[in-house]
Symmetry: C2
């Protein structure tokens, strides 16, 4: 696996996500000080637009330059505040999530072990709404 | 701004993204060793499904337990390999992106500054192919 490329892609995703969080932060601040402006930024920040952080900022610069500058400042601040905690939080988070997933699967396996119901008459207990519409 | 909450949300996004990258890694590996299985996993991993990493793994456990276990292993490995580089990469990335955005905006402002063309007679220097056949 190409760890270097994955690290680069992850960085890009994180940068866009922090831009989105910066937008949310600025909207929350404006809600206190200047509600019409908050409303405008909320409307401007559609889901599609915020997907690509850099494109979003570039478009915002065309419309409301001061808000764009403000978002740049906030996302840099967020990066400085948040990033140092991420490695530990993500590693621990994945370890715990993995442990939980494995435990749940173990419980399912021991509950529904087909080797314990080897006669046709003994139908295994099934979930009533087993959906399989992929 | 609630930095703690943003750090938590960012962690969740990163965990889901690394799960997605683990899925891609396993598909790439299977493409080499077991193409039909790679094809199956590719089809199972729809965009909607992979959005929520934990739900995805849980659903995969119902279908192909071995693949689910494998993805758990790979995402833990990815978290260990990738996370330590992220803080520096994201901070630097955002600093550079901010610099670029500010520079571009500065260029736009100096090119189209209306205050530099305040008299009608004083036309700004224009492209050389201005035909003047009066």
């Amino acid at each position: 696996m190409d760890v270097k490329q994955i690290a680069k892609d992850t960085t890009r995703v994180l940068m866009s996500y922090l831009t989105y969080q910066a937008v949310r932060t600025v909207i929350a601040q404006l809600n206190e000080t200047d509600p019409p402006r908050a409303f405008w930024l909320q409307n401007f920040s559609t889901r599609e637009r915020v997907q690509d952080g850099e494109l979003f900022v570039r478009e915002l610069f065309q419309e409301r330059q001061d808000l764009a500058f403000r978002i740049l400042t906030v996302r840099e601040h967020l990066a400085n505040e948040v990033c140092e905690f991420l490695p530990e939080m993500v590693r621990t988070g994945i370890q715990q999530a993995n442990m939980q997933q494995r435990r749940q699967q173990l419980e399912r396996m021991t509950q529904f072990d087909p080797s314990t119901v080897d006669t046709a008459a003994d139908s295994p207990p099934e979930a009533s709404n087993e959906s399989d519409n992929s």
